[in-house]
């Protein structure tokens, strides 16, 4: 009897938590797909063109395709929390990172140490650009969206210039392993990379005070400072982390596709990342955050896109449907609507209000 009570209380707590709506939205999408096509999420084992047996199916392609977005959404969440704004240049800096990655690879024979070197250099360059944004925002107090507008405008052209005004390709079984399947492992590598990344980030948040400090700075910077926290350092740290995220995403995408096109690589991904953060119930105005929300948000976006493609919606028209779903989710999650629901529930159950 008491177990049931505890369960229902936990359930109630969950429904009032930030994750309720994203989880519900995801479940709704899943159910919708199952009704439409019960075999939608089926996983099968196929042999890919390298001769390896790999998992395939819609579920796999959703999890796989969302990888870059998940990583960037995590970075965007931390940025939003600490700076109270959004960085719209992540697509551009991913292009830059990808270009550096390609440039190093093309200059050498591709072996594992070379790949690592390319990754590290891409990471360093990405971090430098992100820190540049960080300085504008942390030191000059410029609004994040405005500051990042600069790199948004100039970033992709810079990526183009890095590769001498071309869209070069790279080929290597090692790279296709990273971007596709490693022989012997049926799960796509990007998914594995994402899992490792999420674990690392969670370890970082669990064993340091990063989460607490970032949130404090985002909620009330002056008060955070008077408690001994260094707001500038915190803000620069999130940009450092973003630089890492951006370089992983950019390099991953290059491995996946086999070339770098500065104009199209991860285009519009900043919008999707911001969406993921918002759908996940995080405030775009900074402060408290839950990474899980943004991750779920990223998978919602990917599931939605895949669902629409499966329904034969053309790629350009997908945007329109995406828009409708987004609006539905944020409207339902808006405080005004939530309050109205609450009032409805109270009047239905005739609750009395306690005195404090």
């Amino acid at each position: 009897m008491s177990k049931k009570f505890v369960l229902s209380r936990e359930l109630k707590k969950f429904t009032q938590s930030q994750l309720a709506i994203p989880v519900f939205a995801l479940l709704l999408l899943v159910v919708f797909n199952l009704i439409r096509d019960p075999s939608f999420f089926s996983i099968s084992i196929k042999t890919n063109n390298m001769g390896n047996s790999v998992l395939s199916g819609n579920l796999v392609s959703i999890l796989n395709g969302a990888s870059e977005l998940v990583i960037l959404a995590i970075g965007m969440t931390l940025i939003t929390s600490a700076t109270k704004g959004q960085d719209i240049s992540i697509g551009a800096s991913a292009a830059i990172a990808g270009s550096v990655f390609v440039k190093i690879l093309r200059a050498n024979t591709i072996t594992v140490p070379v790949i690592l070197l390319a990754l590290v250099l891409a990471c360093i360059v990405a971090i430098l650009f992100c820190l540049m944004n960080g300085i504008l925002i942390a030191k000059f107090n410029i609004q994040p969206m405005i500051a990042s507008l600069i790199l948004f405008t100039a970033g992709r052209p810079i990526a183009y210039w890095i590769n001498g005004g071309a869209t070069p390709n790279v080929e290597s079984p090692l790279l296709s392993g990273l971007g596709g399947f490693i022989p012997g492992i049926p799960i796509p590598s990007p998914i594995l990379i994402v899992i490792i990344f999420i674990i690392l980030i969670n370890l970082l948040l669990k064993f340091t005070n990063l989460g607490l400090y970032i949130q404090a700075v985002g909620i009330n910077e002056k008060a955070a400072r008077l408690n001994g926290i260094n707001p500038m350092l915190m803000k620069m740290s999130v940009f450092l982390i973003l630089g890492v995220c951006v370089s992983i995403a950019g390099s991953m995408n290059v491995c996946r596709i086999g070339l770098i096109n500065h104009e199209t690589i991860l285009i519009d991904i900043e919008m999707d990342a911001i969406l993921a953060v918002a759908i996940g119930g995080n405030s775009l105005g900074g402060g408290k955050f839950k990474l899980a929300g943004s991750v779920i948000g990223a998978y919602i976006i990917q599931t939605l896109t895949t669902t629409l493609y499966a329904m034969k919606v053309s790629s350009t028209a997908v945007k329109a449907y995406k828009a409708i779903v987004i609006i539905l989710i944020v409207v339902i999650g808006s405080p005004v609507v939530k309050e109205a629901f609450q009032k409805l529930r109270n009047s239905l159950s005739g609750k009395k209000v306690a005195r404090i």
Binding site: A216, I219, R225, V353
Partner: protein
Amino acid sequence: MNNNVVLSMRGISKTFPGVKALSNVDFTLCQGEIHALMGENGAGKSTLVKVLTGVYTMDSGEIRVAGNAVSIRSPQDAQNMGISTVYQEITLCPNLTVAENMFIGRGKYHFVNWRAQEKRADEILQKLKIPVRAAQQLGTCSIAVQQMVAIARAVDMECKVLILDEPTSSLDEREVELLFSLMRDLKSHGVGIIFITHFLDQVYEVCDKITVLRNGELVGEYEIKDLPKVDLISAMLGKDLEDISKLKQQKKTYTGEKEAVYEAYELSSAEGVKPFNFRTMKGEVNGFTGLLGSGRSESVRAIFAADRVTGGTVKMGGKEVKITKPLDAMKNGIGYLPEDRKGDGIIQDLSVRENIILALQVLKGFFKPFSKSEAEKFADEYIKLLQIKTASKDTPIKSLSGGNQQKVILARWLLTNPQYLILDEPTRGIDVGTKVEIQKQVLKLAEKGVGLTFISSEIQEMLNVCSRLVVMRDRNIVGELRDDELSQDNIMRTIAGGSAHNE
């Protein structure tokens, strides 16, 4: 004062999720009457005012303005009915001019005639002796001037009811007198004024009647002449005043070694603090006093390195140390409860627990987060010790009343076990009951050997707890009073006539 009732509120009730803020409250205001509305934080004063001004809608009750029953659903409604409000926080737009701020949102005009607007505004400003030009951008004026512009706006709207919510918090004595003469002027013209304040002296100086609320309920309405101060406090607290008088005997009982816990020589900061010398002994409660703007807060902020330190040497327990940022001060055992609770103190969306452990957590280090159980233990300890009223330790601190928020910040610094604790206006905007508790805590700490610096704009409070007062005027130290020298008269005299010397 005639018997024409200009405002009558009957049976007002208002409930928020989980809290009954007002319960069957009555309030009456007559023409030409200055009526104080008093009560502890959480008593319901600001809720009552917000119901009257249309920010909240009441759950039940009736409001009559000049005899007619009205329904007030928005600030615009309230304004149209002749109810004007000047809030504690400046509710004007800093990017507009003074003239625009005086007239925007009022009346039925569609087009703006800049010249006429500024001319009219200048007339009003000169009449009220407010030192600002109508064409000036409001954001470039001082806070005191901004408040006066807010009052000028209210006054010009020929209101029947003028509500002043803590109008004197940011004004110095001269400005307070200006305000009072304005109020008396309005009173003679038949305006009814609701005056909300925590300054008891001001209430007795200018008000005709007092209404006291407690815990969302009406305690009573009294004529000033029938209610001595003692009874007023008793009505607000619901208990006797023994506690307050007992305090005075509790001072100066530290018997340990009298050594300096903190010393500063030629300390100066970028916020206009000129080089000054200062010392706090173990077990001593000292304070900085002076008029608003004299530099008290800036001086203690320089001690904590809250502002950029530009010079000077500091010693803790005799050893020279370098304090250039708050973390340095904290590592040396200094704690600082800031003057601006909302802007510098609470981290709004974080829980009570997180707010309590924050400073200690930063001291412990980036790589050593407290476990949830450790944090909960600390939080429970201090919630109990300071009797913090909160639904749970996970409640966001912004949901607590001002007094309880203050207790949380105090808990935060007590938890760090400071050697030297600086409290800047720890009791501002706080009900009398909590005030007494905080003063008690201060004396308890002093007994244990902690050095304390206490700042309050209420001189009586300072006299209650401090054994030494540093007097400031215009950013200079002009005197120091200790032990028997401590009296209101001496302080006033020193502020007025002391010569500048920074030790």
